[in-house]
Symmetry: C2
Subunit: 319 residues, 2 copies
């Protein structure tokens, strides 16, 4: 009884002396804008799926958060999406995966200069230290984890071929870490060519490998789109039983094969489009908790095998 | 009506065909163990406060998560705390801030080998790639942000003295980044000595600086405990009006002075003990969401001024 009475008195007192700013904060809803490239398939399609799924989960979990999601088909549209979010929705935070670094740097910097929280995902801006939080994948880790898988699964060495992506820093970091991981293992890289993260290019590169090398034990396709092209070339050559293929990024058709125990596709390495979800979750925490979430989060590349494939399989995602 | 009927049928169908594993997952509660050094004051005291506060918030937010918190007063006790968590609480994940790296590496590795999720905070283990997630502070950023504050607030240059921590990699990284940030600014470092993150040592170092240098415009104390010692020496010399002091880490007495607009303590730089809360939040997300949370999160060091000090002030924390 006493306690109850005291609580009532306290509540009244608090109401009366509460400054205006604190009152506003109690009722305030934070608005988080999310601006990403549009896509219906591939990695970007998965990224769109996970952005929407995370926003739905967070709108249910946190009453005082609202979200605005914009998907842009070119950098110019992304710039005007962001300007719209500022002008008409008065966002408190922006989570942005830049279509391209250069054209987005100025507009995102202006958002920051207005005092808004800024989270940048995957592709960095052209200038450092604009954003509060940067979330990105781990390219050296992607190559290292793949290399370690080859070493563990080829204890007596063997012959492999490698498909590389588009010549970029990203691709160099992945390949260098892969090479470091297999060094001294007795694994011989017969050939290494650029499949440019493209199915058709990779189909042709793999056809060339198959015609040149009579004995190939395994393929590091280093990306699931390249793996699709390589697998098609292997199938057409009728050499499915000779070699296994390790792709990467977690395309659901590949994860399905890993889950099913397909010996030709025994594993995968993550470079998860769901990292957009991590970025949105952390941005939300800035408004609903006291924990610090500024800084740089490099999402690890994880090995997927039959044991853990289920948790990386998203049947409703296009990717 | 049709839709409703369909939904009912679907629900029943789902119930009947749901495999046992999925059923178990629905009801399953994940148990997260948190093992940290004990403390009643200082940075570790703040870390204990934020660990408890975050666990309370998460237990309220997520019904299917349970937490076990252990605080150890030496590395041996921490090892047995972790062994207890495994043996008697069957934890699904461990969040650990190691007392020391060496004695904790083996025990934490055994937790990982049992298939549990492992998050390591602040102090790394002696061996790489054991943990799923590593959360730590940004030492170069801590020095850079401090240096940038000096440059911005001493546009015409000036004389400063610097207190360093215990000779360690951490201290070197901080000081090197500070020096890089003030390079070419016209700021002259009159003296730089080790105060060893200790109030008494810093009091003596500052007394020595004060007797040697008749004109000091500002002090980079580089840590709030060292700032307390330096401020006491300045007060005893009666030179409070001559120089301002920048500490760091966000001790609440210092944040209070920043909030109050104290000209002698105009700012602070975070190295937040609340990073333990970030680590616990991310570990929780591994069990309640599909977003990837493995990897390495370096929590940024943020400048605190009168404008934003309130959000870094935790009156109930001992730190």
């Amino acid at each position: 009884m006493n306690l109850k009475h005291f609580a009532g008195a306290l509540a009244l007192g608090t109401m009366m002396v509460m400054p205006l700013a604190a009152q506003a904060q109690e009722e305030e809803t934070a608005v988080i804008g999310v601006s990403i490239p549009a896509a219906t398939h591939g990695w970007a399609g998965g990224m769109n799926f996970h952005a929407q799924a995370t926003i739905e989960a967070l709108e249910e979990r946190y009453e005082n958060l609202d979200f605005v999601l914009s998907t842009a088909s070119d950098p110019g549209q992304q710039v005007s999406d962001i300007e719209d979010m500022m002008a008409t929705r008065n966002i408190d935070a922006l989570v942005v995966l830049p279509f391209e670094s250069e054209p987005l740097t100025g507009p995102v910097q202006r958002v920051k200069e207005e005092g808004k929280w800024v989270t940048v995902v995957d592709r960095g801006l052209s200038q450092e230290n604009i954003e509060d939080l940067y979330v990105a994948g781990d390219n050296p880790g992607f190559g290292r984890v793949a290399g370690e898988y080859f070493v563990e699964n080829m204890p007596d060495g063997g012959n492999i071929v490698v498909l590389r992506g588009i010549p970029t820093t990203i691709d160099n970091e992945r390949v260098e870490a892969f090479e470091a991981a297999i060094e001294g293992s007795g694994i011989e890289v017969l050939g290494m060519e650029h499949g440019n993260w493209n199915r058709d290019d990779s189909f042709e590169v793999m056809q060339d490998f198959l015609s040149r090398y009579p004995e190939i034990d395994a393929v590091w396709a280093s990306d699931d789109d390249m793996a699709v092209g390589a697998l098609e070339a292997i199938a057409q050559a009728g050499r499915e039983d000779e070699m296994w293929v390790l792709g990467g990024a977690g395309m659901k058709e590949m994860i399905q094969r890993v889950m099913d125990g397909d010996e030709q596709v025994p594993a995968n390495v993550t470079y998860p489009p769901a990292m957009i979800g991590t970025a949105i979750e952390l941005t939300a925490l800035n408004f609903v908790s006291d924990v610090p979430v500024s800084g740089e989060f490099i999402i690890g590349s994880v090995l997927i095998t039959q044991d853990n494939a289920e948790q990386y399989y998203f049947p409703d995602s296009p990717f």
